[in-house]
Each structure stands twice: as structure tokens, then as C-alpha cells.
Symmetry: C2
Subunit: 285 residues, 2 copies
Amino acid sequence: MRTYLDCVPCFVRQAIDSARRVTNEPRVHEQLLRETLSVASRLTFDDSPPAMGQIIHRRLRELIGQKDPYRLAKQEANATALQLYPELKQKVARSDDPFTTAVKLAIAGNVIDLGVKSHLTQAEIHTAIEEALESDLEVDAVDALRQAIEAANDILYLADNAGEIVLDRILIEQMPLAKVTLVVKASPIINDATREDAEAAGLANLVPVIDNGTDIPGTILDQCCPAFQERFAQADLIIAKGQGNYETLNESRRPIFFLLKAKCPVIAQDLGCQLGQMVIRRGTA
Amino acid sequence: MRTYLDCVPCFVRQAIDSARRVTNEPRVHEQLLRETLSVASRLTFDDSPPAMGQIIHRRLRELIGQKDPYRLAKQEANATALQLYPELKQKVARSDDPFTTAVKLAIAGNVIDLGVKSHLTQAEIHTAIEEALESDLEVDAVDALRQAIEAANDILYLADNAGEIVLDRILIEQMPLAKVTLVVKASPIINDATREDAEAAGLANLVPVIDNGTDIPGTILDQCCPAFQERFAQADLIIAKGQGNYETLNESRRPIFFLLKAKCPVIAQDLGCQLGQMVIRRGTA
């Protein structure tokens, strides 16, 4: 997906919010804002929005001299989600259709966006999950995903955020584990899941974990490492979580299913869905 | 009031919105956005927000080759407000406290912001006015304004927007007309009232109308013409409508009353009031 004009004020707002989240230094807030504006004024709109996210957050990490400013938030999100894990596993096991319930929970993980609000309480997460479970998913899309998983031999599961990855585990556990490889980011970018989060979520013991070689909040293929590019080209099913992966892969010709909540108006318009809707969307392959 | 970091994403969004409002040319939308970002990256935060509004809208008028792109919207806003005028005059005449009712209506004019939504229906305006009339104003502030008007000999009334200026007329008609001079912008800026709007509202026949010499959506004194600067320095009461006038004059030592609705979180925080609140605020004189 290209960058829309309406993404730009949001980049600017995110730069301020992110700087404030990780430092109390007004000098840094202002400097990141000014540099974001300057870069944005020369923006290539053909690039997808996560390209800008990478630039902003790389610069923010440089300015504050920290490699992983969201580390604590990610650890807390994982811990909170792990406390819910036993109860959610029971919900799945007891439901009429465990696969559909697990899909809803995986999308709910994207709904609650543990990184954006790093001190989300368990009660708030509960509410988000209950709402997700009561929401309707497109039955045809769920069935298509189910059949694609059955037919596939080599499934790449592209994770999105820390915390959310614990709910991804619940969905992955409904899949034939021998077919699945989990993909995380190679190095910290916002609260995106890295290998450390896959290990914290207990996924590293279940399935192989690889990284895509980047620090981009999405999957920009030509910046990914050759090993990931090869796996991406060979996989017969790709499950991609979250907005960032949709924004960067929606024009791919590979067999992809996108699982996400449409959290911004630009994405909702691009998807042709309501703002806030839970979405399973098959790629254009 | 200085420009806060949080004003910047709003400038960027307003540049896109304004460009779209006045032209369907995507090339112009993108160019105004890029130029706004570039100017904002070098912003002097000590300047008040309307300084940036002037820059953005001057450039927009240049890009589209129109001196007054909001002219039709302003005419429509005036016409709509004038249709309501007889009924509102009756409301004032029949109320227990005509002055307070007139103050509420004048602030309601700022609430409904006819320029932002240029095709506001009469029904929508009715609702906004009813809400304003039911709202409470600080009684002490209204009384202080009433007494200041009685005591003053030379009152400058700084108008804000077209449409709104018809409701200003209702308040001005509650004041000793011989004391009042109305101030408008010298040339078009967004939907701010100019002499043409003062005439359309029927105010030019009631009180002297002068302009401040600028095309700024507020009152930046050192850019105003000498004649206005002199009047501003001599007046013994200034009534300033709207956010733009508050943003540019809130640190003035002259005897000012600000009448506005706090429509943005930054202003509400600066005023120490709720977002959306109707405010009468005495200046620091």
C-alpha cells in the first residue's frame, strides 16, 4: 500500500507521541519532530507507511542512545498476556469451533495493541477479548484460511507485536506445528515482537523461529535478509498479522492471509471495511 | 500563546483539509502538504499558531490562483445566520437577561464555526444555538464584561468568522453603539470576516468598521497596520472573539475580554477549561 496524504499528519503525531513515551527531554521531542517534518517533506509516497516508521524510530533510538526503548513495555505485555493464556486456552478447547475462536483471539491480540498502551490492565484486555469473541468474522474467510492451512506444507506466520504474540501462540497451537515457522523482526522497532518475545511467549519451543532481517514495523521485502526472502518465496501459505504487514504486503502475489483489526481510517478505506472491524483478508495471489 | 508541539500535526492536517476544500487538484494537495512540512520543520515555536495559518493559506491562495477561495462559503454562512437573526433577536428580547443571552449567542456563533463546515444546515445551527443557550457561562465573568462595557468609552470588537459575525451583531446591539468600533481582517484569510461580511451582516450601518491591516487568522499586533495599532493602544475595552484572537492576544496587557469556545485540546489546556467549553476570559491587564 502506498502512503496516503492522510498518513502524514499521523506520522507527525506519532513522532511526538513516541518521543514523549521514551524520554522526558523536551529537546529530543522537538528535534525528532523537526527531523520528521523535514524527512516527510521529501517523502516518496510510493513507499508504504512502515518505511517512515522505520526512519522515525531509528532516529529516536539514536537521539536517546537506547537500542530498545520499548523493552520493558514488551516484557509487561508478554507477562500480562501469559497470565491470561490458561483461561483463553480453555475458552478455545470448550468452544464449538476451536479454530474460529483461536482466529478471533489472534485478531483480538492485534485489537488490544499492547504496545500502544503499555500499562493496559488485565481487566481492559479481558473486555477487548470478550468483544472480539462476540464479533462476527466472515465465515467464508475463516473456512478459506482453515482449508489453506490443511493444504499447505510450509506455513510462515508473520508476527506483529509483543503481548499479541501470546495470542498468536493460541492460534498456532490449532495448526499442524510441523508445518509452521514463526517470523519476527530481527531487531527492536517499537513494540514489534523479536526473538526474545517469541521465547517469552513459549513459541520458540513449539516451532522454528526465524527473523526477517529488519527493524521495520511491517515486511518490506527488498530490505529483508536473503534467507527470509527465500523462505517467503517458497512458502505455500503466509499468515500475516497486523496493519504493518498489510500495508507492506497487500500487493504481494504470494498466497497470504492478512489477520488484523482496521485501526485507522486510511487502512479501513483501503480494505473497504468499517473502522475498527476485525478482518481476515486473502491476498491477491 | 506560543505554538505547542501538538499544534504541528494539526497544521499538517489543516493544510491537507484546506487544499482539498478549495481544489480537486491532487498536485496542489501534495505540494501544499510538502511545503507546510518544510516550513514547519523550521518553525519558531515562540510565534503563535495563527502565524503558521497565515503562511499555509497565503501559499494555498497562490497555488490555486484565487484571492478568496472561501468567498462562497462565507456568503452562505452569512445568509444562513441572517435567516436566523429575527428569531434570535426575539429570544434575546424575551429573555430575563438579554445581555447574557446575547453573549451566549455570540459565543454560539464561534461554536458553530460556519466556515469549517460551510454547508451547515439551519437545523444544525439551531441545535448548536439551543445547546449554547442551555449552557452556563461564568456569571462573574459576564457581570465583569457588562460593567466593563458600561464604564468604557472606546470599545473595539474584534470579529472572528463570517456567519458568526451576524451573531456578534446581536451582542453589539446590546451595547451602546456610539462606543463600539468593529474590527475585521483587511483581506481574505480562511473564512475570517472582512469588511464585505460586516456589510452583509448589517453591521456597517450600525458602527464604524475598520480593518487590522492583515490576512492573519488572529491579531498579531506587529503585523497590523499603524492605524489599528493606535486604536488598539487607545481603546479602553477590547472584546476579542474566537481562538485565533486568544492565541495571538492572550499575553497582551490591554483590557481585553476573550469570548470563545475552546475547540482544541491545546487551547483548553492553556485556558484551564474543558474541551468544548464556552469561555469568557478576562485578559491579564
